[in-house]
Symmetry: C2
């Protein structure tokens, strides 16, 4: 299946949904402060564009792309109609108006707006596009359908994420080796190895700003700034959270490096994280509600008087955080399904002790799951210990 | 003035505005997909938090911070009241409800919500906080006031941006030297030098993902991916767009490297960009409407049958893109004011020829302006030429 067929097939699936739900067109919009990878999912255009997917009276799809950079669109995107965004002062309101006219959408047909549409923009749109019926739904609309479509990866997406996972593992190995040898002693040493080596392997780069937190900074869930010239993998607990983006698809792993003699309380943090990881992994299974795995991890932490201040995991794909969110508050209808790729990342953080997180990417299969990455909690002194 | 005083002074200024405009409290919210650096501007907390700034009946300020990471907040943020966001399932609606109660905001007092509030969230808030009067204004509210406050930098902010500018210049010099010597031959060579050397100088890192586009990719306004293992500063036109973040404040410069014998059409692009730069710089003056500079640049390009597909400049600060946006469509009330720091970045792009952009950061002063950075269009062969 070539790429163009991939995009038309996705648009056709969404158009069928629109047709079945009485909606003539769905609007997707990506801009600074308003990112939406569905623009890329349906057209291949990476960002900064308005996309309208319309279903005609027979449910057939038509994709209109209104990109900021028409040169880039001409080289890499797929759409039936292209309108330059700058013709509309890069304002989504007149651009949308023109797009709906160009697509001959009847004036009384339902239009699904992005749920991320701001309240002031929604008011402008309803005023300028009146009397068109504009829907803007947090749930039940075309955007939730797109998010659910994207949660279950097709074969090409799974292949891309496997490659993103494989390279992340390779780089984790290089960092671990560097830490053991002493060639990696600062946070920038670790992070820049990932920046460089990911691109040398043909990847787009890291999945997100690599988080490299030495012992002084690992207490933060997401350390800030993301990495500094300070020490890494020095005595104590250091966290390395990163991923690799391969053809737009993002892996996500976290290693914790334990160096030197830890206090009993620090050791306990690490052991609790490992226990929660293994217990929850058994609940990453097709058909099980995602909240069960999150509850199990929190139960283990709670017994030790600890609490994890974040969710247990999330889908990965074109975005680093996708549906489903594996958390206690998830509804019972949010269940693992074959083809989902979801992180498993228990973590505990203490201002005095530091933090510990362990994260891998898990493919949900028909029978259970397959862990795509091989990150670990790395005990740097244990190797010498076993050699004795 | 210590940092804590900085934050209380800013909150006091906003509270005075609130008091004068019949608003009891303004809500700021920073989360994934909903970034707002005003959270940092008013509290020092870098991200992922809800902030409420309230004015009491005398106009005195009270700052409430509801952060995702309470450990981080305890170390670096300033607020009068702190509520852990996770106590409210990291959901801004119950968190806001609790915050307004904690602050004893009367039930009939006006509350300014972020203009970036989505339409579905706005509906949830009005339902769950009824009958509180909730305002969500694109213009005229506390958020526009905060944006205008932030546009004019105070002395500490100017000092931080000067340092961010100084380091960016230093790194531009290192890249230029490396390109001349041949130690920088790929996009990652240039970008990773910036990643590393910025942090070694104590900066937070680059201001944004460095854009390094060799001749094959410089046709894109913002090349995608941001940098690759491909050639940089090879024959043709290469663009390097980057900045340095110093204590949260972001400089932003662009160099274009011209290598080898360019076609007459390519030379013309570069010369047009230089002409537009110099003409527009004379219009970066206190009291002048910003649209005049943008019009002048477009006029010069238009005479040559070219068009710049983006704005001429933008404020810089805690965000890389701040008020004012220097563009033709800006209103006559948008004028340059002393203390603003604004980029000047004319650029032209052609799918066949490549692209050329030149960008510096300009401080508006009482008498005119001061260019804080020293980036250039670098003609790599000219040095040898002059030596002859």
């Amino acid at each position: 299946m070539n790429k163009s067929t991939t995009y038309t097939a996705r648009a056709a699936r969404l158009a069928a949904w629109l047709h079945g739900h009485g909606v003539a067109a769905a609007v997707f919009y990506d801009a600074e402060g308003h990112r939406d990878s569905s623009v890329r999912y349906f057209t291949g255009h990476p960002s900064d564009a308005l996309v309208v997917i319309a279903a005609d009276s027979a449910g057939s799809p038509c994709t209109l792309l209104c990109p900021w950079d028409v040169n880039l669109a001409a080289k890499i995107a797929r759409a039936d109609v292209v309108l330059p965004f700058t013709d509309y002062r890069s304002d989504p309101v007149p651009a949308l108006k023109a797009a709906l006219e160009k697509l001959n959408i009847p004036g009384d047909a339902n239009i699904d707006l992005p749920p991320a549409t701001t309240y002031p923009d929604y008011r402008r749109m309803t005023a300028e596009l009146a009397p068109r019926p504009l829907l803007c739904r947090g749930e039940g609309g075309a955007h939730q359908e797109a998010i659910r479509m994207r949660a279950v990866k097709d074969a090409a997406e799974i292949a891309a994420l496997r490659e993103a996972a494989r390279i992340a593992d390779e780089l984790a190995g290089l960092v671990t080796e560097g830490v053991r040898r002493g060639s990696i002693v600062s946070e920038i040493d670790a992070a820049l190895l990932i920046e460089r080596e990911s691109r040398l392997r043909g990847a787009d780069g890291p999945s997100f700003d690599t988080l490299a937190a030495g012992p002084e900074r690992s207490f933060g869930i997401h350390c800030f700034p993301s990495y500094t010239a300070g020490p890494f993998a020095s005595p104590g607990m250091s966290i390395l959270d990163f991923g690799v983006c391969w053809q737009g698809y993002r892996s996500d792993i976290t290693l914790t490096f334990l160096r030197g003699t830890l206090s009993a309380a620090q050791e306990e943090l690490a052991i609790l994280v490992e226990r929660a990881y293994h217990a929850a992994l058994g609940l990453y299974k097709s058909g099980l509600p995602v909240y069960q795995a999150a509850q199990e991890a929190q139960r283990i932490f709670g017994e030790a008087g600890r609490k994890m201040p974040h969710g247990l995991g999330h889908g990965v794909g074109l975005d680093i955080h996708e549906y489903p969110r594996v958390r206690e508050s998830a509804g019972p209808e949010e269940v693992f399904a074959p083809g989902m790729i979801v992180t498993l990342e228990p973590g505990l953080y203490d201002p005095a002790l530091g933090g510990c997180r362990w994260e891998n990417d898990v493919l949900i299969t028909d029978g259970g799951n397959q862990v795509l990455t091989r990150s670990q909690i790395v005990r740097l002194e244990f190797r010498a210990y076993y050699k004795r």
